[in-house]
């Protein structure tokens, strides 16, 4: 298993086409942490995740992995340290499910051209098992439903065996059983000493599974800290412009959007 390192960003600013997407963002995640990134559409969640993964260079500020600036790291070692799961779930060729998951081993020097090591095979198998996609392994990705495809792509990111996992709305389109299983998986891999950053809209899942939370609004951090201190009724009202109630049902916290505030 790759060892996680603290990932920290400070003073992050991003402009795209003259529009300010992110302004002066600070973010830190240490090994073992699981942090939810939430906020309304267009708040800058995806851009922040791309910056943290070292894919979009910020216009201001820097992202550091341990004591290294991610901009100076070579892409292969960055790919071994951070696995990034984009929101876009397109797979361009009719690959077999197992072959899609095996792509996650590319930063480790394996691939269809070089053959797979025993470690590669073990990681691919474990990732298929964790996402409940073993039975799909020999199917073509094009034949799967949207939710099944989402799980296969999550398996690809898990097979990458990075210390840090950054996932952009991984639960979108999953049925309740697989959404719960996915977050149980995130909790389990955080317990192994890895760091997990998840962007999501389901605040109930965030409250239930993520100890940490960052709430973005208009490209700025509106609140960050313990999820229970961040995802409160007044804060949700301020950031999303809705009246919401937080209730506990069978010991599980639930965020219920009640109405759009006038």
């Amino acid at each position: 298993m790759s060892r996680a390192t603290t990932l920290s960003a400070s003073g992050i600013g991003v402009r795209l086409g003259g529009r300010e997407i992110l302004r002066d963002i600070a973010f830190t995640i240490s090994p073992g942490e699981l942090i939810a990134v939430a906020g309304p559409n267009g708040a800058g969640k995806s851009t922040l995740l791309r910056v943290l993964a070292g894919l979009t260079p910020p216009d201001a500020g820097s992202v550091r992995l341990g004591d290294m600036d991610v901009r100076t790291m070579d892409r292969r070692s960055l790919g071994r340290a951070i696995a990034y799961l984009p929101q876009d779930r397109t797979v361009h060729w009719p690959l077999k499910v197992r072959a899609v998951v095996a792509l996650g081993r590319i930063p480790h020097g394996s691939g269809p051209q070089r053959g797979e090591s025993d470690i590669d095979r073990a990681m691919i198998q474990a990732a298929l098992k964790q996402t409940d996609t073993e039975a799909l392994a020999d199917r073509s990705i094009g034949e799967l439903s949207g939710g099944e495809r989402a799980r296969v792509l999550i398996a690809r990111a898990l097979a990458q065996d990075a210390g840090i996992l950054i996932a952009d709305e991984p639960a979108a389109g999953l049925d309740p059983a697989h959404a719960l299983a996915l977050f149980e998986t995130f909790v389990a891999i955080a317990a192994q000493g890895r760091a997990v950053i998840v962007a999501l809209h389901d605040l109930s899942l965030a409250l239930r599974y993520c100890p940490g939370a960052v709430l973005l609004k208009d490209g700025e951090v509106a609140a960050s800290g313990h999820a229970r201190d961040v995802l409160t009724e007044p804060m949700i009202a301020r950031v999303y412009g809705i009246t919401a109630k937080i209730a506990e049902v069978a010991g599980v916290p639930c965020v219920i959007p009640v109405s759009v505030r006038p």
Partner: protein, 322 residues
């Protein structure tokens, strides 16, 4: 099919086609004349033709497979970047200006110059971004301009003979090339093909889209540079020497993709060997179909290619329909 077995099978096919091209003439396998004449026919007529067929076919198959993988578009083909259009324009200008009659090798050298200028224009137009759409648009712009200027040169041909010579050249052929042509083009094609072959793993990663590929270690700027320069060298040199041999780069990867595991990188070697076999066999077929040499190779490949796509559309219509 197992990747090794497929490559071995296609390798045998390409080798057999090469030997067939070397030893089969319009009169079958016999070579008439004195031993000296036979040696000349084999070494100075058939050998360059077979070598060029192998290299040009392989180049077109490989470049087609790389461009389809890179642009994530099964309709991409080696001419999509406009580089072969530039090479064709260069050669047509050499005929138009009469340079081709005066200077030996003026045709291929002008073709290479055209390919280089087209690549320059492509690079400037596509800019510093890494998106595939801008590259395709830049390629369309360059190839349209090259096609327009080629039409202009044909339109203003000094005499009917020059016009027909230009047209024939544009149709693509392996005949009447010498070993000098081979030596001129081979190193460029070899370097280009090596660059293209080196993209295999990056193309695999790109199956998941640009962001995921970048996360898996792909440097998009570097990859674009390798794809464009590899195509420029390999396809530019192939077109400069043999003209435009259409459909090979589009058809071969399509035909072989279902026989591989599906990763674009797995398709590169089979497409090279398959392209070589196809062009060599088409060139051998020409000697039977048209012993006088008036049917052009590029016309024959297009005649094979068009029905192939008709079949492809009919067989895939149900899965492609929304």
């Amino acid at each position: 099919m197992n990747a090794m077995r497929l490559a071995a099978l296609l390798g045998c096919a390409a080798l057999a086609a090469f030997l067939l091209s070397l030893f089969m003439g319009v009169d079958g396998f016999t070579v008439a004349g004195s031993p000296e004449a036979r040696r000349m026919i084999l070494l100075e007529v058939r050998l360059p033709r077979a070598l060029l067929g192998f290299m040009v076919g392989g180049t077109l198959g490989l470049a087609g497979a790389v461009l389809q993988g890179y642009l994530r578009n099964p309709l991409a083909e080696p001419g999509i970047l406009g580089i072969s259009g530039g090479a064709a324009l260069g050669a047509v200008i050499a005929i138009h200006s009469g340079l081709a009659q005066v200077v030996a090798l003026a045709l291929p050298l002008a073709g290479l110059t055209g390919a280089a200028l087209a690549t320059l224009a492509l690079t400037v137009l596509a800019g510093r971004g890494t998106g595939s759409v801008t590259l395709i648009l830049a390629g369309v712009a360059v190839s349209s301009l090259a096609a327009a200027l080629t039409s202009l040169a044909l339109n203003l041909a000094p005499n009917p003979f020059a016009a027909s010579e230009m047209l024939y050249w544009l149709m693509g052929s392996l005949t009447d090339r010498s070993l000098t042509h081979v030596w001129l083009a081979a190193p460029l094609m070899a370097i280009g093909c090596l660059l293209l072959a080196a993209t295999a793993r990056d193309l695999d990663a790109l199956s998941l889209g640009e962001a995921a590929a970048q996360n898996l270690g792909v440097d998009p700027t570097r990859l674009r540079w390798v794809v464009v320069s590899g195509t420029a060298l390999a396809v530019g040199a192939a077109t400069a020497v043999c003209g435009a041999i259409s459909f090979v780069g589009l058809m071969v990867p399509h035909l072989l993709r279902p026989l591989t595991s599906g990763e674009p990188g797995q398709l590169l070697l089979p497409s090279f060997l398959g392209g070589a076999a196809l062009v060599l066999l088409a060139d051998v077929a020409l000697r039977i179909l048209s012993p006088m040499g008036d049917l052009r190779l590029g016309v024959l490949t297009a005649l094979i290619g068009a029905p192939f796509f008709l079949w492809l559309v009919l067989s895939r219509r149900s899965e492609l329909a929304p």
